[in-house]
Structure formats: C-alpha cells, structure tokens
C-alpha cells in the first residue's frame, strides 16, 4: 500500500469517527431541566427513548457499586452470565441446595438489578417454593421473610416500579396471613424485631404492613404515571382496603374485640368507601366509580320517566305491539303464563328471557315520539342509555370484587350486636378447647342469639355465600358441643334459616 | 598440515525436500550430497543464500531429518543424541535465552553435559574470559549487543571442549576486529586438533581459514577441494607492490613484455575465490542441473 493511500485511509477513518461521534452526541444528548435562560429540553433521541422505557440508570433506583462493577466486568456478556447463573440456580433448587440457590440468585440480581421479573420470580421461589420444603415452621417463616426481604431489596434498586411493591404487599399479606401456618407466621412476624426495627407493636401486623406496600404501589402509579404491569386497577386498588378487612378479621381471630375491632372495621369501611370513589376503567370503555351504581340507576330511571312524560302511554303501547308479534316456544309461553310466585327455577329463567324480549328500550320509545318533543326525547333517551351503560359496567365490576358484600360486611361488623356475637362465639370456642362444655354451650347460645339480631337487621347478609359459610362453621361447632353432651340441635333453632339455605351446599 | 584419514562427518547421498502440510513438494533444498570431513581440518561450506548450507548443517545436527540418504557424525546417525557430547554448535544467530545472563547461560548448557561441577565452573570462567565478556558476565543477554551475543554463543558452543565444531555463518554481525578475532580463534581451534565445519556466504572468511571447501548452489554440490588447489591458476602471476611511481610501472611493463608475457591488469586484484564462485554460478545458470566437480585432491 502506497503512503498516499495510507494517508487517505487515515483521513477517512478520522472523518468516520467524527461523524459517528457527532451523531452519537446529538442522539444521546441528555435531557435538561429548564432554567430562566433556557427552555426545557427533552434531550436527544436516545435520552428520550431511555426516558420512555424507564431505563436511565439514575431513574431506576439505588446504584450499587458492586453491581456496576460486575456489569462492567462481564464486558457486555452479562445476559449470558445471568443465563448461566439462572441455569445454576435452577439446578441448586432441584438439588435442594438452598444456600447455593440464594448465592446464585444474589449474583443474578447483582448482574441485572433492573430486571423486575427476576426479583418477582425468585422472591416467590424463596417465600413460596423453598419455604414449604422445610419441615419446621420456624424455618419456613425464615424463608418467607427471606423472600419478602428480597422483594424489598428489589424495590430499593427499582424506585419507580409499582409491581415490586405490589408483590411485596401480596407476599406479606397472602403468604403470611392466608397460609395454613398463618397463626405461627403471624406471631413470628409480630416478634420479628429484625424485620420491623422500631415499628411499634400495634402496627406489626402483616396485613397492615402489606397495606402500606399496596399503598406505595398505588402512589407510584398516581404520582409517576407508571403502569402496573399485569394487574388491572380494579383489582390492585382494592388490595389495600381488603388488607384492612383481613386485618380486622385476623385480630378477631386472635381474640381482640371491642373498640379496637370496631375501629379496625370502621377504617376498613372508610377505605372501601374511598375505593368506591376512584375513577376506574369499566366494561365498554366507560369510566366508572363503584359507589355510583345507585345514583346512575336512579338518573337513568328519572330520565326515561321524563321521556315517557312527553307522550304518555307510548311505552305500554309499544309493549302490547311487541306481545302480539312475539313468537314464543311452548315452554316459554307456559313459563311466562305461570304466575311469578309459582314458577320453578327453569321457568324463572324462561320467563326472564321473555321479559327481556318484551322490554321496550328508551331509544325505541324516543323513535316513536313525533312532533316538537321528538328532539328532546332523543336527547333524554341518549342520556338515559349512557347512564344505563355506566350502571351496567359498575354492576359487572362490583361483581368481580364482591363490592357490595364487603361494603355490607364492613358496616355490619361495626354493630354492637355483631361484635358481641363474634366475641361470644370466640369465648365459647375457648371454653370448648378448655373442655368446659357447659360454659361453651351457654356462650354459644348467647352468641347465636346475637347473630340472629344481626341477621334480622341485615337480612341481605344471608344471601351472601361467604357469610353463610362463615355462620355454618359456627353452627357446626355448636352442633359438636351439643353432640358431646348427647344433645341435638333444637327443633326451633335460632338460625334454622341459615341451615336451610346452606346445609346441603357443597 | 598433517592430513588424517579419520572421517568425522560423512554424508551419503543426503537429500532434503521440504514439503508443505499436505505433503506436496515445495523446495528441494539439498540434492544427493556426498561429503567427508576429516579430523583436524577446517571445512567450509560456501554458497549464496538458500543454497543448502544451513540445511546441511541442520541435517548433520539432527535438527532436520533427511528425505533420503544418510548423514553420519562420528560414525553415528545424526539423529543419535549421544554424538552431541563431543560436538559444539554455533547457530546462525546465537539462539539463546535472553532472560539469562552470561554465566547462567554457560552454566545451563554446561549442565547438559556430563562435566563435573568444578570443571564446569572453571570452563565457564575461562570461556567468558576468552570471548572478552568478563565485564558483562552478570548482565542479561537481552541487554547485549549483537556482537556480544555472538561471542557468548561461541562460548556456549565450546563449553564441552568439543572435538567437532559446527559454525553457521560465524562472522555475521561482527565488526572487522571481531571477524579477525573469530578467524584467529577458528585457526587456533584447528591447531588444538579440533575439526571445524563452517558455512558462510562471505568468501573472504572461507578463503582465509578453510583447508577445504565445498561450494553449494541451489542444493547441489558444485565444487569440492582444497582451497589452495581450487584457487591456483598456474599461468597467472600476481604482482602486488606499493610505492611505485609511474616510471617504475612502465619499467615493470617493459620487463613483462620482454619475457613475451602479457600484462592482464594492474591495480588492486579481485578476490579469486569470488571469481571462482561467480564462474560456478554463471555455469550453473547456463546449464542447470549439471554438476561441477572439483578435481579429486591428493
């Protein structure tokens, strides 16, 4: 190669380098906050992209020198390294080598601290899969806490990730509060100075701690507009309030009643009320608030009545016309012609079908209205239909989270009678465990009487299967006590209606 | 000089063909070489670069294996390790370990021979003295100049007081004084009764010290014989003188003419070995493959 050629090549390289560097500097220009002199700048394309995907390091959370060093030391092979470690971790798990599993996982997260799924997956592995391998409850608890601490650590590395907070809350609430070993777990948790630090004893409840984590997740979504991956707001917005309910239930399980329990339920009721006020995306693309159902229904009703008032009797007229043209099957007709009180279940469904066919919607009515009122009628029909759609979406959403039950439950549990009933049943059970059958029987009977009063005050409670099963457990315990005394349930048992409804349900 | 019939080196029909990885023939480096080197003589292998001199020496040392034919040193096959006990070799470019110093180098090579420790020490000391490196004996070879490395290379070749010394281009890299000293040393070794085989492309070296030479060209032996015989041109008289003025030169011219002689040239005479050498090369190129045989010496 001639010297001139070499020189040309060098110049070419130089130009290339300059061009590439310029390009990089333009694309990668960091975002700047506006000052008095200059405007806000969103930064170069790369910076914007990084911002959009939430990848900029300083945004993510704690920067750990160890982690950064390892990342550098792997020379961009950290994906491969993490993969190998993952494989290793799986093998350790298979061979039940927990020490090495924990060490391997630790290395993985040092390599990829911002890979959320790793935190979630391995936190779950520790808290759920590894813990159950141990025979001793204390060991199990150790691993549950290890899983929770692991998730908490993940939160430190990822300051703006709501999902990790949610998982932390979920493990705290569900693994500790809902597993078979919940009594031991909850008592260990209360005594766990290392976990709580200087948190006061009263707040050392897994449900309350979990609630605070769920709230943190919500706050991130609200303040930073980050998306919660894999969870709908209908569900995750309910978690915190549900935790409060579980907390109230749990302390009653532990024998705490009176003002403390009432206050716990009151807080739960308030929070549930707050939950009902949140704007949620509903079925059919409408924005709903769970509390609004009754109001929406009333509005729809009012609007259609207003429309009916524009041309009296039109709705009935249309209905009659429909009845004439309607082609029904014999079974449908038979069911519909049976008086409502005498219909059996199948007939009820059939009759309902017919009723639906005969229903005259507001737009149908509006279409038939003629004259100057026509425009107003159509306007009314539209508004009524919109309210109807929202009401439908709310009904669906309420069903999903069992909204009404919990609203009723939180209200009902605050009643003196309920509290008394629960306390009596608890005392009766204690007496039963102690072998004092007389006291047990007496206290239970008082408790059942108290329940009677609650049921009379809130008859809709009986309709809810959850509450029904709950009561059936109480009745079952009472029956046990009677059996041990060679007695049977009295003929005119106070809660006979509960037995009638739920005894054969399975 | 006393002639001896004791043959130290003998090659019979020695042929070396370099092949590539696939066994295809690449270069025919040496073609059917027959040589004998006798005890006590200085034998020179002469030829241009790539003529097969170094190949011959490597074959004699067992560093290469012959394609066909045989090379015997002290009557043993060249691949036999035991011949090395009585042999010294100075490679073309003193391939020595650069991280050792002069003493360590000689001590290391000395250990490879069956020499008592005391003798080894003694010889190390003497040889360093002899090659004039006693002032640098503790310095690593990587700090040495090329000439110094060459000298220590010579010293290591003599560490076992060998009977036969093989020198590959002994004077390359040496300054004129060094070259002179090397030549003197070679003659001294011969005087000690040792056999020396050297190869060189520097004609002057060979001419000055060798008793017999073989001229190789393109792997073929072109000439073999005593240096004085090969170079003697009977009807040429060479006159060298100094301090003659133009008139004296005219007078000498006249004397030559008077004796029916013919003045060929006058001035600085060219080396006659060079002439011989160039002649051989010219002939070889004119008639490739023909073997130029020197007359059998007495």
């Amino acid at each position: 190669m001639s010297p001139q050629n070499t020189f040309q090549r060098k110049i070419l390289y130089l130009v290339g380098i300059v061009v590439l560097l310029t390009l990089l500097s333009v694309l990668g220009r960091p975002a700047t906050r506006g000052t008095e002199q200059a405007q806000d700048s969103p930064g170069g394309y790369l910076a914007q992209l990084r911002q959009k995907s939430g990848l900029s390091q300083a945004e993510l959370g704690q920067i750990d020198p160890t982690s950064e060093t390892i990342k550098l030391a792997t020379f961009g092979m950290r994906g491969v390294a993490a993969n190998i470690l993952w494989e290793k971790a799986n093998r350790y798990k298979m061979k039940k080598d927990w020490t090495n599993l924990a060490a391997a996982v630790r290395q993985i997260i040092k390599l990829q601290p911002n890979f959320i799924s790793v935190w979630i997956f391995q936190g779950w592995t520790f808290a759920y899969n590894v813990s159950v391998e141990f025979d001793d409850v204390r060991d199990r608890y150790e691993w549950v806490i290890k899983g929770i601490n692991f998730l908490k650590e993940g939160c430190q590395y990822n300051q703006h990730d709501p999902r990790l907070r949610w998982e932390t809350g979920w493990t705290l609430s569900n693994k500790i509060g809902n597993s078979d070993e919940r009594r031991q777990f909850r008592s260990f948790f209360k005594a766990d100075d290392d976990f709580h630090g200087d948190r006061p004893l009263a707040e050392r409840d897994n449900w309350l701690v979990a609630k605070s984590w769920f709230r943190k997740a919500e706050r991130l979504v609200d303040e930073y507009g980050v998306k919660m991956k894999g969870q709908g707001p209908l569900i995750y917005r309910a978690n915190a309030a549900k935790c409060q309910m579980s907390y109230a239930e749990a302390i009653e399980d532990d024998g705490v009643f009176g003002e403390v329990a009432r206050q716990a339920w009151k807080t739960a009721a308030d929070e549930w009320q707050e939950y009902g006020k949140i704007d949620l995306p509903g079925f059919g693309g409408v924005v709903i608030q769970l509390n609004d159902l009754e109001e929406r229904e009333a509005t729809a009703e009012k609007l259609s009545r207003e429309m009916d008032a524009l041309q009296e009797g039109l709705r009935g007229q249309i209905r009659e016309e429909k009845k004439k043209t309607l082609e029904l099957t014999n079974a449908q007709r038979e069911a519909w012609e049976t008086p409502p009180a005498e219909r059996d279940t199948a007939q009820m469904i059939l009759a309902d079908e017919v009723e639906q066919l005969l229903k005259v919607s507001d737009p149908e009515v509006a279409r038939r209205i003629t004259g100057p009122a026509r425009k107003q009628a159509q306007e009314l029909a539209k508004r009524s239909a919109a309210n109807e759609a929202v009401a439908l979406a709310i009904r669906k959403a309420r069903q999903i989270v069992n909204f009404e039950y919990w609203r009723m439950r939180a209200a009902l549990e605050q009643l003196d009678d309920t509290l008394a009933a629960r306390e009596l049943v608890y005392d009766g059970s204690q007496a039963f465990y102690d072998g004092d059958l007389d006291t047990a029987k007496r206290t239970f009977e008082d408790g059942l009487a108290a329940w009677r009063k609650v049921l009379d005050a809130y008859p809709e409670m009986l309709a809810d299967p959850t509450a029904g099963d709950d009561l059936m457990d109480v009745i079952e315990r009472y029956r046990q006590i009677l059996e041990l005394r060679d007695e049977q349930l009295p003929k005119n048992f106070v809660l006979q209606d509960v037995i009638d409804r739920y005894a054969n349900r399975e | 000089m006393q002639a001896s019939n004791d043959v130290v080196i003998e090659t019979r029909n020695l042929t070396k063909v370099y092949r590539d990885f696939w066994g295809r023939q690449k270069v025919r480096a040496l073609k059917a070489l027959d040589l004998e080197v006798r005890r006590g003589e200085i034998f020179g292998l002469l030829g241009p670069n790539g003529s097969g001199k170094t190949t011959t020496i490597k074959l004699l040392l067992g560093l290469l294996f012959p394609t066909s034919g045989q090379s015997l040193v002290f009557g043993r096959d060249a691949t036999d390790v035991s011949k090395n006990e009585r042999l010294g070799y100075l490679p073309e470019e003193s391939y020595l370990y650069r991280f050792l110093n002069a003493e360590e180098t000689l001590d290391f090579y000395g250990r490879l021979f069956k020499i008592p420790r005391a003798v080894r020490r003694q010889r190390t000391f003497e040889l360093i003295e002899m090659v004039g490196l006693d002032w640098a004996r503790r310095r690593q070879l990587k700090e040495y100049s090329k000439g110094m490395v060459r000298r220590i290379g010579l010293a290591q070749a003599l560490i076992n007081d060998p009977e036969l010394i093989l020198l590959d281009e002994p004077t390359t890299g040496l300054d004129p004084i060094g070259t002179r000293e090397m030549k003197d040393l070679i003659l001294k070794l011969r005087d000690q009764g040792k056999t020396v085989l050297m190869c060189s492309h520097l004609l002057a070296d060979v001419q000055d010290v060798c008793d017999r030479i073989a001229i190789l060209y393109q792997g073929e032996l072109k000439e073999l014989g005593r240096v004085d015989n090969l170079l003697k041109v009977r009807d040429v008289t060479e006159i060298r003188a100094s301090g003659l003025d133009a008139q004296a030169q005219q007078e000498i011219k006249a004397v030559i003419e008077k004796h029916q002689g013919k003045l060929l040239s006058m001035g600085n005479p060219t080396s006659t070995l060079e002439e011989l050498f160039l002649k051989i090369i010219r002939e070889s190129e004119a008639h490739p493959g023909r073997r130029v045989r020197g007359e059998k010496e007495s």
Binding site: P65, T66, T69, I70, M94, K95, K96, W98, T99, N100, A102, A103, R106, Q107, K110, E133, F134, D135, D136, V137, R138, D139, D180, E181, R183, Q184, S187, D194 | K58, L61, G62, L63, L64, F65, V81, S82, N84, E85, L87, Y89, P91, E93, S94, Y95, L96, Y97, F99, L100, E104, F108, Y109, R111, L112, F113, K114, G153, Q156, N160
Partner: protein, 609 residues
C-alpha cells in the same frame, strides 16, 4: 449437605481401575503403532515402515530408561527462570484483587457462609492456577521452537524425554509455590471473613424462674445481632456462660468484670471450619411397606432422584450396613456418649399435620434401630424427631436393651465382625423419610481443618499438574496458540467428560448432535419423537457415528471435576486418604501416557522446521 457420589475402597478401586487403565493404554498404543506404520508405509513401503517403527520403539525405551536427573533438573531450572521472566507474579495481583472484591458478593450473614467462602476461594484459586498452568505449559515450547532457542538446546546431549519432563517439573514447581502462597492467603481470607463477635450485657439477660426457691436463677438473653443472627446466651448461677448454636457456629465467651459490671467477651466463631471424618456405610438397602426387601424406596415426585423415600407407619425401612465398627475405632474414652451417628434425612409430608397451635410444632417421628445379626431383626435404640435440611446427631449407646430385657453389647453382640446394621423407620403414617447412602454416617473424629484445606489445594495441585502435562504434550507438536486451544479444549472436555460420556452412550434427552440440531432448527421439543422416515434414519446413523466418537473421547479425557476436593472441604468433610490417593494415582495414570506421548511427538518432529 452431603457428598453425592460414593468413594470405593482403595484396593477395590485399584484392581478394577488398573485393569481398565491397562486396557485403554493398550488400545491407544496399538492404535498409535498401527497408525504410524500405515503412514510410513504409504511413503516408504511396509518393510521400511516396520523397521522405522521398530527403531522408534527401541529408541523410546532407551530414551526413557536413560533419563538423567542432572539434565532434567537443568531443564526444570530453565522453565522456572522462564516463568519468572514471564511475570507469573501477576497472578498474585489478580488473586488479591479477587479476594478484595469477593467480600462484595460473599454474604457472611448467610446460613452457611463457610461453604460460600470456601467454595469461592477454592474455585478462584483453581481457575487462576489452571489458567496459569495452561499458559505456561502450552506456550513455552512453541516459543522456544519459534525463537530457535531450542536448536541450541537439542544440539546438546539432551533427550527429548528430558526436555518434556524438565518442563513439566519446572512449571509444576512454579505452580506449587504459587498455589502454596495462594492457599495461605485464602486461609487468612476465610478466617477473617467469617470472624465476628457479638455483644451481650447484663441488661440483656433476664432471670428465668426456677421451680425450687432455693436455686439461684439462671439468666437468659440474646446477644447483639451481627451478620444477621444472634445467639441465645445462658448464664448459670456459677457464672458459666453457654452460647447456643446459631448459623452453624457458636462462640467461646469469657465473663469478666469492668467498672463493676459483668462484661461478656465473645471469641471468634467456632464450629464453622470443620473437617468431619465420616464412616460411610458400605451399602444401603430398603424394606418395602410390607417388610420385603426392596431395591429402593419410593419416589415422591422429586426431579432429583438422589434420595429414596420410605413410608411411615409401615414396615418400610432403610438399612445401612457399616463395616469396621470396632472398639479401636470408637474407644470409650473419646466417645463417652456412644457412637455419634449423623443424619441428614429429608422429610416429605403428605399432610401437614397439626399446625394450629404455635406453641407445639410437631416434627415427624422416626425410630433408630440397630440390627441384631442373630435374628436379622432390628432392636430399637431410640425415637427421634427428624430435622429437615439439617444434620442431626444421634448417639448409639454401647449397650442396647432388647424388648425382652436382655442387654447386648454393641461391639461384641451386634457387630461381632465389625459389621453393624443401622435401621431407620418413619413412625408417623402417611409421612415419608427420604435418604441416600451418604446421608447417614458415623462421625469418627474431627480432622484438622487446615489440613483438610491443604488437601483441597492438593486436589487443585493435581489438576494443575495434569494441565501442565497436557499442555506440554500438545506444545511438542502444535504451535503456541493452537496448543493453548487444544489444552483448553481438553480441560473443558474433561470438566464435561461425564456429560460427553452420557451423550456418547445416548443417555441424554434429545438425541445426538445432529438430532439436537434438527430439533433446535425445527423447534421440536425433547419429548416429541421424530417422525420415522429416511431423514430420521440418516440423522440417527450420523449420530451413532458421532456418539461413538464422543464416547471414545470421553473415556480418554480425565474427569477433571473428580480431582476437585472443593466440595468436601466446603461442606466440612474430611478428604480421606483413600480419596486423595485415588485421585493422585488417577492423575499419574494420565500423566505417564501424556508424558510419553509428548516425548514421542518431540522426538519424531523436526525441530528446525
């Protein structure tokens, strides 16, 4: 925490392995002879070839027999000099840096930090030393050939065998010194890394109420929390302090007075760096739930088939047969409580049992018995509560009482010839115990930890020598980088040789190389059978050939991980002399042929090419 594979008694191992070795060696030698004869025949005809091979053979015998220590040492000295010049000391720097940064990843607060620390130092040293051995050995000779420094050497009366051997010895010497220093550094690192103390003050201790009023109170409390754990501390009336085991260690505590207050001084952690000497059972057999002999217990659905499970509340039992259980081995003076039996059983529950009451946490009951050689029936020694994922110690007393009241001597009556049977059953119905042979053993004594660590480094040393040998062998006929790659390939192959063996035997899911490739490309999973047809037949045929090659290669390669004692050291088991001897012989068995091969390659090559 057990070692998975079993160690065969030395003589038994030697007799089978030696024959195997001879067979392989014979095969290799025969293949080499025939191969070289064929190659020479192609060029020079069969007779010359025959003579050639014969001469090389006789030369080999001479060159190997007449190796002179003087020259070997000179060559070794040169190798050492060369290593120093090539700045092997850099390895120390790397090692130091590794140790400095290791503290970031090693968690001294984990439940078994000793294991993490030891695995780390052993792995780090072995990687570094092997890498060093690789570079030194594989690059040295090719460099000499390239610089032609070897010309000067081989023209001295040095045999090729001495050049190869000298190099192996020289590099080994360098490696040994390096390894020794690194071992010392690691020891200090581990001890320092694990070291910690706790504090406990009088105020932390509460008096525990005593039933008898007259008795002075015992005080209990917790130490401060260091490394994510705290110890329960009990101080009795006389001021004696007892520290409970936590995270696998305890501390010696001395109580002193300072300014009128009692100060408790915690010593360094103890019981972490141990070297247990186990006496493993010769055999583990099972009884099925009906009491019949069975090959193994049941599988409870674990992916890892190492442990077999026995059903509780049935006649199912696991029976370990120990040998050499004698009074000499377990003298009364050292074992006053009986013979310590360490168990690591796995518990598998089919139902959770009583979990309501937090105060009582019932474990699964098991029974420990010894076999009566006269009746072949077990005699129950005691009941125990199984501890999952922990090593439990039970003592087998010297006197065992039979159900009918006879007293039997453990050594005289139950193990008259040193054979003792230990039976374990699970008492609770529908719960299971899982076990493997190495899970139950007698702890004969504790060996010195540092000796054991030294043995661990001996294992690395063996690996290093092997790598040096192999590197030197390749470097005799390959150029530097190629020799390096070849050695590295052998090393990697050695680490995966067991997998290669499995692959060669067709025991790996997904078939041979071609089939796997096909599955990869077509995204077929491992379970799915290939549809029969010409394509499949061709794939399988090629795979068979490749698998055979893999099998041959895997049986020639050293199983490198078998030379590692790291697992033993890290898990706190003594590396037995038997194991060390087996590994030493195993590496010698590789070194000898490797050395001879290296010699032959160097001898038959033209140094000046």
């Amino acid at each position: 925490m057990v070692i998975e594979y079993a160690i065969v008694p030395f003589l038994e191992w030697l007799s089978t392995s030696f024959v195997y070795w001879l067979m392989i060696l014979g095969g290799v030698v025969a293949a080499a002879l025939i191969g070289s004869w064929l190659v020479v025949t192609l060029r020079h005809g069969p007779v010359v070839a025959f003579r050639c091979v014969g001469r090389v053979l006789s030369d080999t015998v001479v060159d190997l027999a007449l190796i002179a220590p003087r020259r070997v040492l000179a060559m070794a000295w040169l190798a050492v000099k060369e290593s120093i010049r090539r700045r092997v000391v850099v390895v120390f720097a790397v090692f130091l840096v590794l140790l400095l940064f290791a503290g970031w990843f090693l968690d001294p607060a984990s439940s078994e930090p000793a294991r993490l620390y030891l695995s780390f130092v052993l792995t780090a040293t072995s990687y570094l030393v092997l890498l060093l051995a690789l570079f030194l050995s594989a690059l040295s000779l090719p460099a000499d050939i390239k610089n032609k420094t070897l010309h000067t050497v081989v023209t001295k009366p040095v045999r090729p065998s001495e050049i190869v051997l000298g190099r192996i010895l020289g590099f080994t010497a360098v490696g040994t010194v390096l390894l020794g220093i690194m071992a010392l550094m690691s020891y200090v690192f581990v001890v320092r890394g694990l070291s910690h103390t706790h504090q406990v003050a009088d105020a932390d201790l509460r008096a525990v109420e005593q039933i008898d009023d007259g008795e002075p109170a015992i005080r209990q409390g917790h130490s401060s929390r260091v490394h994510k754990h705290r110890h329960e501390v009990t101080v009795d009336a006389s001021g004696g302090v007892r520290v409970e085991l936590e995270h696998g260690h305890w501390h010696d505590v001395s109580a002193g007075q300072s300014a009128g207050e009692t100060v408790y001084q915690f010593g360094p952690p103890r019981g972490r760096l141990v070297a247990r000497v186990p006496v493993y059972a010769r055999q583990l057999r099972f009884k099925d739930p009906t009491g019949e002999d069975a090959e193994e217990g049941v599988n409870v659905g674990d992916e890892w088939g190492y442990r077999s499970f026995i059903r509780g509340g049935s006649l199912a039992a696991a029976i370990w047969t120990f040998e050499d259980i004698t009074t000499d081995r377990f003298p009364k003076s050292s074992f006053p409580d009986g013979l310590p039996l360490e168990m690591t059983l796995e518990v598998f529950r089919t139902y959770k049992g009583q979990t309501d009451d937090p105060k009582t946490i019932p474990g699964i009951l098991g029974s420990l018995s010894v076999g009566d050689p006269k009746t072949g029936k077990p005699i129950e020694v005691r009941l125990f509560t199984a501890k999952d994922f922990a090593t439990d110690v039970q003592y087998i007393p010297r006197q065992v009482e039979t159900p009918d009241g006879r007293k039997l001597d453990l050594f005289k009556d139950l193990a008259p010839d040193g054979r003792l049977e230990v039976w374990i059953r699970c008492i609770q119905p529908m719960q299971y115990f899982g076990m493997a042979r190495a899970d139950v053993y007698f702890r004969a004594r504790n060996a010195q930890f540092w000796v054991n660590l030294a043995k661990g480094y001996f294992g690395i040393w063996l690996q290093m020598v092997l790598v040096i040998g192999i590197g030197a062998m390749y470097s005799t006929f390959l150029s530097g980088p190629i020799a390096l790659l070849a050695t590295m390939g052998t090393l990697l192959g050695g680490f995966f040789s067991r997998f290669m063996g499995d692959l060669g035997a067709g025991a790996v899911m997904g078939g041979g190389p071609i089939e796997s490739l096909y599955r990869l490309v077509t995204q077929k999973n491992l379970i799915q059978d290939l549809e029969p047809g010409l394509k499949t037949t061709v794939i399988e045929m090629i795979d068979h050939v490749l698998e055979y090659g893999l099998w041959v290669t895997s049986s020639l390669l050293p199983e490198f991980d078998r030379f590692s004692f790291s697992e033993h050291v890290a898990k706190g088991f003594d590396v037995s002399g038997n194991l060390a001897a087996q590994c030493a012989l195993r590496s010698l068995a590789f070194l000898i042929p490797v050395f001879v091969a290296g010699y032959l390659f160097l001898k038959t090559r033209e140094v000046a090419r």
